[in-house]
Amino acid sequence: TKPAEEGAGGEEGKNAIKVGMVTDVGGINDQSFNQSAWEGLKRAKDELGIEIGYQESKQDADYPPNIENLVDQENDLVWGIGFKMGDAVKEAAENYPDQKFAIIDYSYGDKTPKNIVGVTFKEQEASYLVGLIAGKMTKSNKIGFIGGMEVPVIKRFEYGFRAGVKEANPNAEVLIQYANSFTDSAKGKAIAKQMYSQGADIIFHAAGDTGTGMIEAAKEEGKYAIGVDRDQNSLAPDNVITSAMKRVDNAIYDVTKKLTEGKFEGGTTITYGLAEGGVDIAPTSDKHVPEDVLNLVKEYKNKIIGGEIKVPATEEEFNAMK
């Protein structure tokens, strides 16, 4: 597919609904949530017959003009992809009260302007599930977690994961190290090697491109790795046992669909968790994860969906768990 066909060119189709998105600095093909978001839009295009387009950002300072550019192109809905755009989207919403906006990974709480839908994810729920898998599959009782930067989203991944491990295997120790970078693959690899040499046999990352270094280490050491955001099995088919997936595509599709149905829920924040199909474990998990563990995961999934278990998302919540 050529992006030209998808570009928000804008002359024809006066009746078709138009939706555009602004990527964050990762760009449209970041193998992560920007790309996932775009895939959601493409699905909406195919299934709902809408027009779609995007604007890539190179610097944080690009967000306001890019958002404005999409507004100028008379999009019915403008998406901001990523928490970094929180303020920019809010400002735009104030400046263009008749324009609809939506944002990924950001919540304005009860102060959400009428023309914005906030979308957040319960990352902790997916990482809880992969934590269960890690806890069950570890042989050394040592598991690693590599974080990109110590920011709330990544912290949610960390605590959910630790809670899952603890639940499945109270004896397992989780080694935690932050790389302080989402791009430094070499550092990710070095940290992972260090963890493996300390006896860890499974490592989970929430560190963007830094994490690809970790997957590389797993490949070299013949150890297990757990991916994040997307199904990362293709990066190391023998080593990535599962991934904590964040279905930005589903959320985007869902909100966009509601828009076409005239049910845009402006002024609210929608949280996508397991129940809403917003997070999950990777479909390729059955390649490496034994049946019984998968069944266990299924069991817990239902408990979480049913509200029986509330997965901790912060340090306080994690410590509050018994």
């Binding site: 050529k2 992006p3 030209a4 066909e5 998808e6 570009g7 928000a8 060119g9 804008g10 600095v25 760009g27 449209i28 387009g53 995007y54 604007q55 890539e56 190179k58 610097q59 944080d60 300072a61 690009d62 306001p64 003009p65 890019n66 958002i67 404005e68 550019n69 507004v71 192109q73 928490f83 970094k84 929180g86 303020d87 400002e91 735009a92 400046n95 263009y96 930067m149 110590e150 920011v151 709330p152 302080n180 970078s181 989402f182 791009t183």
Partner: protein, 354 residues
């Protein structure tokens, strides 16, 4: 008279370079299946199409003008400032700290915030100047290192409780009293356009810097050191002091860019995931502008236009790297002015110099 001619020639060659760069870009666009005419008209329209686009171009250009001026100033005095990036970051950091934590009337708060950014940048640049004058540490290395130190320092501060906006990856917004938005203009160019006084301050700084450089004893000293530090030393000028002052002023300018960016555009700082490139672009701006203050202004505007207007080529689906290729080609052709000159001379049928 003579100067004027040179100026016109330079301008002519620059325009031709831009044209050649655009041709390369057109080839790349065509090769990737886009109509270059469409792409470029998007770009031109994206720059000049509406008052607000022009405003955005200027907004985008402002920090580049200043980091360009910073690099140019250092060059004039014989130093290569790769560190505008880091100086920008600390300038933005200091301005945000002062802009957020202090509560003051605007008339004091605005200058204070700006000055604190300037001082932070000056300090950061001054370190490199000091290391060079005292220990002979090459400023190219020290500024590259200080860029990264600034980067992590800024992230460190943002992570601190009380400065970081809860549940976000950014600091709190600075107080209203520290911002330099031009609210009344917004009604003219569009409410979302971040028109601010930055460009005016940048122009003032350009005038001040030109004045300092060419009309004052300090500028005389700095330029003398830049051209020939041995002769300057002989003439009794303190070369070591000049290096520190020069790097500090260069840092001040980049720091001002950072501060004004916070005060006029972002109103806060966010966690940096990668170097944003204000300083690196500044190097290109400075060099395209022939390392002069006026040149930095024009080249900064050109760069701002390319970056902002170029981004509009995405409207036809062209990916951003094509825009970088266009920018790179333009810089390349500007660098090879000689090539352009030869081509023109050939076209004029005139003789090329021996």
């Amino acid at each position: 008279m003579k100067n004027k001619k040179i100026f016109n020639d330079t301008l002519l060659y620059t325009l031709i370079s831009i044209f050649l760069g655009l041709i390369v870009g057109a080839i790349v666009l065509t090769a990737s299946g886009f109509n270059p005419i469409e792409g470029y008209s998007e770009m031109l329209n994206g720059i000049f199409g509406k008052p607000k686009y022009m405003a955005w171009t200027i907004i985008k250009a402002t920090p580049l003008i200043l980091t360009g001026l910073s690099v140019a100033f250092a060059f004039r005095t014989g130093l290569f400032n790769i560190g505008a990036e880091g100086q920008f970051i600390v300038g933005a950091l200091a301005a945000t700290l002062v802009g957020y934590f202090l509560h003051l009337p605007a008339i004091i708060h605005i200058p204070l915030t700006l000055i604190s950014g300037c001082i932070a940048g000056a300090l950061w640049g001054g370190i490199s100047g000091f290391l060079k004058s005292k220990f002979g540490v090459n400023e190219v290395i020290s500024t590259i290192m200080l860029n990264w130190i600034a980067f992590y320092l800024s992230n460190y501060f943002i992570m601190l409780e009380g400065f970081r906006k809860p549940n976000s990856e950014a600091s709190y917004d600075i107080q209203r009293t520290a911002t330099i938005d031009i609210t009344w203009l917004k009604s003219l160019v569009g409410p979302a356009t971040k028109v601010n006084w930055g460009i005016v301050i940048a122009l003032i700084l350009i005038i001040i810097i030109s004045y300092v450089l060419y009309k004052t004893t300090l500028g005389f000293e700095l330029r003398a050191v830049g051209f020939n530090k041995y002769a300057a030393e002989y003439a009794g000028i303190n070369v070591n002091k000049s290096m520190v002052i020069s790097m500090a002023i260069a840092g001040l300018l980049a720091g001002a860019a950072g501060a004004m960016h916070v005060m006029g555009v972002s109103h806060k700082i966010t966690i940096l995931a990668a170097q944003e490139g204000y300083g690196f672009d500044g190097i290109a701006v400075s060099l395209i502008g022939n390392n002069t203050p006026l040149g930095a202004l024009l080249a900064g505007l050109l760069f701002g236009a390319l970056k902002y207007g170029g981004g509009k080529m995405q409207n036809i689906g062209a990916p951003t790297e094509v825009i970088n290729i266009v920018i790179g080609s333009i810089i390349y052709f500007i660098a090879t002015v000689r090539l352009v000159k030869i081509m023109i001379d050939k076209m004029r049928g005139g003789k090329a110099d021996a």
